[in-house]
């Protein structure tokens, strides 16, 4: 089963995605995409780690090259988050572009029994950005639409509540 959770900053999308994963039996895998670049990202990573404590997730660090990640066959995985992964592939020296994300998602879908992807709603705050940002938005929106078309469940987190756009909550 493929689930896509979209939401704005602080919308509760992570907790919603975690709750979905926790309904599944067996081991759970957290695919972490954030690069610990500074104090703020370290703090954010720590916050998410605390949030996941006791939820029995193994963590796979994957800031880029998802297509080469060693995801076990049949995994119940939570990928958090798509916008971070894309930004790393587009803008970090080790990145190799949006298609690397696309290939990685394809492979993760094949490997996982259940894959939940968290992505960001960053498309409603204006349409007038610089070139690099517009490219990032276009690529992220395309990935979101492609995943949503394939997904069994698409939900938007609003104030911590799921607004179900496709499928049904388990």
């Amino acid at each position: 089963m493929l689930s896509l959770i979209i939401g704005g900053a602080g919308s509760g999308k992570s907790a919603l995605a975690e709750a979905l994963c926790c309904k599944l039996e067996g081991p759970r895998l957290y695919i972490a995409t954030m690069q610990a670049a500074d104090g703020e990202s370290m703090k954010r990573i720590e916050k998410h780690r605390r949030q996941r404590e006791g939820l029995r997730f193994d963590t796979l660090e994957c800031p880029h090259s998802l297509d080469r990640a060693e995801i076990p066959q049949g995994a119940n995985a939570l990928l958090e988050d798509l916008s971070n992964l894309l930004a790393n592939e587009l803008f970090s020296p080790k990145g190799s572009g949006a298609d690397a994300v696309r290939r990685g998602l394809q492979k993760a879908c094949e490997r996982c029994a259940n894959l939940t992807v968290v992505t960001n709603e960053v498309f409603s705050g204006g349409a007038d950005y610089g070139e690099g940002t517009m490219q990032f938005l276009q690529e992220l929106a395309a990935l979101n639409r492609e995943l949503a078309a394939e997904a069994d469940l698409v939900a938007e987190a609003v104030c911590g509540l799921p607004n179900v756009l496709k499928g049904a909550l388990p």
Binding site: I6, G125, N144, V154
Partner: protein, 110 residues
């Protein structure tokens, strides 16, 4: 009139063209998109009345970010939001498209 709103690059035009079975010519003859770019405007009601003569009107949500420091930017954003409200009030059907998925906010599915 069918009013379509939703985030940037969400697949709004693609959705409604598919739903109505419209080609590019049908769309350009009967629809107007990116109406959030028609602001600032001192006559929003009149603009909304004119746009409501189309079969389909599409706007991108632009009001969910931080309030801009620049007064002209604030004005544009505010007017875009008000225009969407006026269009939704005039529409028989309002649909929000997110990640390519339509959600019915008013009326019935086309």
């Amino acid at each position: 009139m069918i009013f379509i709103t939703g985030p940037l690059y969400a697949g709004k035009e693609e959705y409604i063209r598919q739903a109505l079975g419209w080609g590019a010519e049908d769309f350009s003859a009967n629809a107007v998109r990116d109406v959030h770019t028609l602001v600032p405007c001192d006559h929003l009601e009149k603009l909304a009345d004119e746009l409501a003569g189309k079969k389909v009107v599409i706007a991108t949500e632009v009001g969910c970010g931080v309030v801009p420091v620049d007064p002209a930017e604030r004005r544009r954003r505010e007017d875009a939001g008000r225009l969407s409200c006026l269009l939704a009030a005039r529409a028989e059907t309002v649909i929000r498209v997110c990640c390519g998925i339509p959600q019915l906010l008013k009326g019935e599915w086309p």
